[in-house]
Amino acid sequence: MKIVACIKQVPDSAAKVVVENGRVFWGDAPLVINPWDEFAVEAALQLKEKHGGTLTVISVGGENEKEAIKHALAMGADDAILIADPALSGLDTQSIAQVLASAIQKIGGVDVAFFGRQAIDSDSGLTPAQTARLLNWPALTLAAVISVEADTIKVDRAIEEGRQVVSAKMPAVVSLVKDYGEPRYPSFMGIRKAARAEVPVWSLANLGISAPTSVIAWPEITNPPSRNVVCEIITGSSPEEIAATLADKILAEKVL
């Protein structure tokens, strides 16, 4: 099988993200692989281990933004492509989907493209569906269990109301949720391979497309209004007593 995982690099979830003069800053917090995309890489690796084949990870980002890619390589991806082009900064998800779809087409013969359900920085969750639309592939979203038989991919979707089993002919786009199961850590062999890997950088010219234009503008971004949080530690001689005090407080504050 030829498998692709699309991954994004985002500020670490522990980073303190602040907006100043309409721009977003996260201090010197490291950039990491989008946590949801780790599940995509894990699912891709398990599929590859079960059915054979190769896993290529694709990321759209700045020329030096290789953390996420290196992480995926260290987890066990075979190779990686970074798509970087000055014309790609600040694009909306539809434009990113155009770039990813072109890359998947350029790779050619791809059976499945995995995504995380959303990116923790912009939280739109649209890219998997939009990429599928552009490729004219089925989109199986929120996957928790995945199986492949012949040319059919079957997915258990984890939805709020329960599980929904869906299937489609490949090639297909699949987006992952946490219920899939913990992503593996990089192995030491993977770390060495990743550290040495030369990641090819594709430009828009390499993809043979012109710069996509965003259809969604981004006129304003603000931090949430700061809240004054007062922390009170409830003590007591037994868990029951602590729980009772807590329950009283919750009722008194009309939280419930």
Partner: protein
């Protein structure tokens, strides 16, 4: 001079941190309180390759360098000392000593399963009546044909009840003129007849770790399990300590870092006299000292690791790193408790565990007093490195990774 870590080092650090954050930190308080090892911890360290991190791939390990070993120990001990202790005895005292002094057959038979995490190793030197004065140990081994018969008691042995294999030093040549020529070292399968073992309870710290005793009663150890020559046991034990102390030093730097991070977090949240306590200069003084100590501890162990990579003997440099970092870790944990006030005195927070855990390392793997004697010995010119029959080879990526 290049102070930068490689991408491999940084990824190793991150991998260890991910592991401890996801799997160890959520449960450590519970097991430390119960005084029980985290049941899956050693198995996970094995599965992830951490127990064989710096052993050549050809001997079942992961082929990383000695800086990676130090970084892993720092990360593990920042979560809990019990994990780093496993590294000290399994990797430091046992596997690396086998790599340095073992024969090819011994490496194939014992190092491969150790480095691949299938078997656990420990280092067995201390006795009820002897710790610092290694040459005076009394557990004996008498030659009987193709065997040595071991008799005696060892105590304060980390992983005594958990390990499969042990690097054991005993007295074989009581008549030798120099006390240091009286000892020999063996790799011993602890599941053999004549060996009983158990745990010691009631320890101040490392409560999620396992420390115990091992008794030898007419245990028949084959001659081919002797490491090196008869009478070389003292030298081999000192090599084992060079490796073990490096892991203790780098681990202790992890406690300093954890104490610093906890203190910074708490000092920014807690207020007194109308401002966060982080704005009081007396609190800042403690935080500044912790951050400086962390820097010093880290630089000292990284230099020792660099020397190990070069294949240069580093007894003195490792001694500097071990003594400084272990003492600094106790001080940092103590200051962190002070910064946390009464909460620091409770096991709701981690800092009291750091203090209890830090204390032991000022005693084991050569107490601070013994480190001082080593350092004075070098400074006064009374101690010099004599070449060893088996020197630890320099880290060669091509050899290690194939």
């Amino acid at each position: 001079m290049d102070f930068s870590l490689t991408e491999e080092h940084l990824m190793t650090e991150r991998m260890v941190q991910n592991f401890t954050q996801k799997e160890i930190l959520p449960v450590i308080k519970e097991y430390d309180r119960k005084q029980e090892p985290i049941p899956f911890a050693l198995q996970r360290l094995g599965e992830l390759g951490i127990l064989g991190i710096c052993i050549p791939v050809r001997y079942g390990g992961q082929g990383m360098d000695f800086i990676s070993l130090g970084l892993a120990c720092e990360g593990l001990e920042a979560a809990d000392t019990s994990l780093r202790v496993a590294m000290s005895v399994h990797v430091g005292l046992c596997a690396l000593t086998l790599l340095q002094w073992g024969s090819e057959e011994q490496k194939q038979k014992y190092l491969v399963p150790l480095a691949s995490g299938q078997k656990l190793g420990c280092g067995v030197f201390t006795e009820p009546g002897m710790g610092s004065d290694v040459a005076s140990m009394s557990t004996s081994a008498k030659r009987d044909g193709d065997f040595y018969i071991l008799n005696g008691e060892k105590m304060w042995i980390s992983l005594a009840s958990k390990a499969d294999y042990a690097m054991v030093t005993v007295r074989t040549n009581p008549g030798a003129a120099r006390p240091s020529n009286r000892l020999s070292t063996f790799i011993v399968d602890l599941n053999m007849p004549g060996i009983t073992r158990g745990d010691i309870h009631g320890k101040l710290g490392v409560r999620a770790g396992s420390t115990g005793w091992i008794n030898f009663q007419d245990a028949r150890v084959p001659v081919e399990n002797r490491i090196g020559e008869e009478g070389e046991g003292f030298k081999i034990t000192m090599s084992a300590f060079d490796h073990g102390r490096y892991t203790v030093a780098s681990g202790a730097a992890g406690i300093v870092r954890a104490a610093l991070e906890a203190s910074v977090r708490y000092a920014k949240e807690r207020t007194s006299f109308g401002k966060p306590i982080a704005e009081h200069q007396l609190i800042q003084e403690k935080i500044a000292r912790m951050s400086q100590d962390y820097e010093i501890a880290r630089l000292l162990y990284l230099r020792a690791g660099w020397l190990k990579n070069q294949g240069v003997r580093n007894t003195l440099e490792t001694s500097f790193a071990k003594k400084f970092a272990t003492e600094a870790s106790f001080r940092a944990a103590d200051d962190a408790i002070q910064i946390h006030g009464a909460y620091g005195y409770s096991d709701e927070y981690d800092v009291e565990r750091y203090l209890r855990n830090a204390r032991g390392a000022i005693i084991y793997e050569g107490s601070s007093e013994i480190q001082t004697l080593i350092q004075a010995g070098y400074a006064l010119g009374e101690r010099q490195e004599k070449p060893l029959r088996c020197e630890m080879p320099a880290y060669d990526p091509d050899y290690w990774q194939s």
